[in-house]
Symmetry: C2
Subunit: 218 residues, 2 copies
DNA sequence: TTTCAATAGGACCAAATAGTCCATAAGAGC
DNA sequence: GCTCTTATGGACTATTTGGTCCTATTGAAA
């Protein structure tokens, strides 16, 4: 969470530490507010107040609201990938996948299913409204899925997963179950459907594990 | 689509056919616009213009924007359930499930994955903003899942599905895969991930079919 | 210490947008 | 045909909100 590079500006001749910190405060406030209220329902005044800044600072660091939102998409994407990298880069076993599932479920259950996935909710809200944001989000999802599929590849290479299992498709399916789970949990304000959705995906992957006893069946 | 009851008002002493038609036009316009732009990004003036009505009519039929949105939630929910009932009430076989999947995928591919599911996108946008809308959406999802689980129950009762298969959980998982698929397809502007997500769920259900040859395996 | 760009404060502006109101038309029931 | 409620048109208002601008302050480099 305390990663300054994530908020680093794009192109500016000279920038001070103080400026970077302000930019970070703005992005952090936008991140929190827009997760709860959604992008369009969050006003710049909300962000200004929550970030303890002023209008001129908002417009000093971002050309307009759209630019701020696009920066937030990258910011949040970097945070999620950072978190997920920590949880997935050592994935080598089915139980590792279960631990990953448990961590996501537990985090979501702390909110009773509210807010959903920061990336998923932005994706639905922005995809048909801002092509640049959509494509950025799409790349982040791809990178996220790659973290999963890399782990599945490791499992397949080590003989845990059957050779005919398709790590890329499994990763997409798992991400679908995760995002759908977030959505249903958000609608229900209850984490339960997220668990069910994820467990179906995990059961499917389990069925593709090489069985120590007997031949695996279709 | 041309179902007037769906737009029927809640409580009004007297209402004429003309009034009902106007109300329907407003809801229909709101339905179309808010599917594309989202709820918060759609203005009442947009709706007024698209529905060929006037401000006084909007406020004659709905107390305020929130009421209109809540009515739209029910309206859209009724439309989706009507459509899904048609596709699911005779579900009795795995191939029926595949046909259902194909219909949804095909419809979504016509938009190249855009817009997503009318219910899912509203759920993410409104759930943390309007408790009444959230609970209404949650009920609709439950009814939708019931249509699926009823079909799965029929399959289980007829011996197609293994006795230990849990229709309710499978229905939730399938709905999760569907909603997650919609979301990923929307982010990618490509229907492909929706297919992958749904197929993973279908594969899982397939693995729970009673095998004509040999004993089914875990 | 001086200088000057970067940073910050906050009043102000203009457009968008939700919502009000009143006059008029339409049409159902008597 | 008369009457009275419903339905409609659209101007108008108030508020919200994105965005501008001018001034002051800070702090790093010369």
């Amino acid at each position: 969470m305390s990663d300054e590079q994530v908020a680093a500006p794009t192109n500016r001749r000279r920038i001070s530490q103080r400026g970077i910190a302000t930019r970070e405060r703005i992005l952090d406030a936008a991140n929190r507010l827009m997760l709860v209220r959604g992008v369009n329902a969050t006003t710049l005044d909300d962000i200004r107040e929550a970030s303890q800044t002023s209008k001129s600072q908002l417009y000093h660091h971002f050309a307009d609201k759209q630019e701020l939102v696009r920066a937030l998409v990258k910011y949040r994407g970097a945070l999620v990938l950072q978190r997920e990298r920590a949880g997935l880069e050592r994935l080598r076993s089915f139980s590792g996948l279960v631990r990953w599932r448990n961590a996501l479920v537990q985090a979501n259950s702390l909110n009773n299913g509210k807010y959903g996935c920061g990336l998923g909710s932005m994706a639905l809200e922005l995809s048909d409204q801002d092509e640049q944001a959509r494509s950025s989000l799409s790349e982040t999802f791809a990178a996220w899925e790659k973290l999963i599929s890399d782990g599945l590849h490791r499992m397949r290479d080590s003989g845990l997963l059957r050779p005919d299992a398709d790590p890329e498709k499994l990763a997409t399916g798992l991400m679908g179950a995760l995002q759908g789970g977030y959505l249903l949990a958000n609608a229900a304000h209850d984490v339960a459907p997220m668990e069910v959705a994820l467990d179906m995906a995990l059961d499917h992957i389990k069925s593709l594990l090489v069985q120590p006893s007997g031949e695996p069946t279709r």
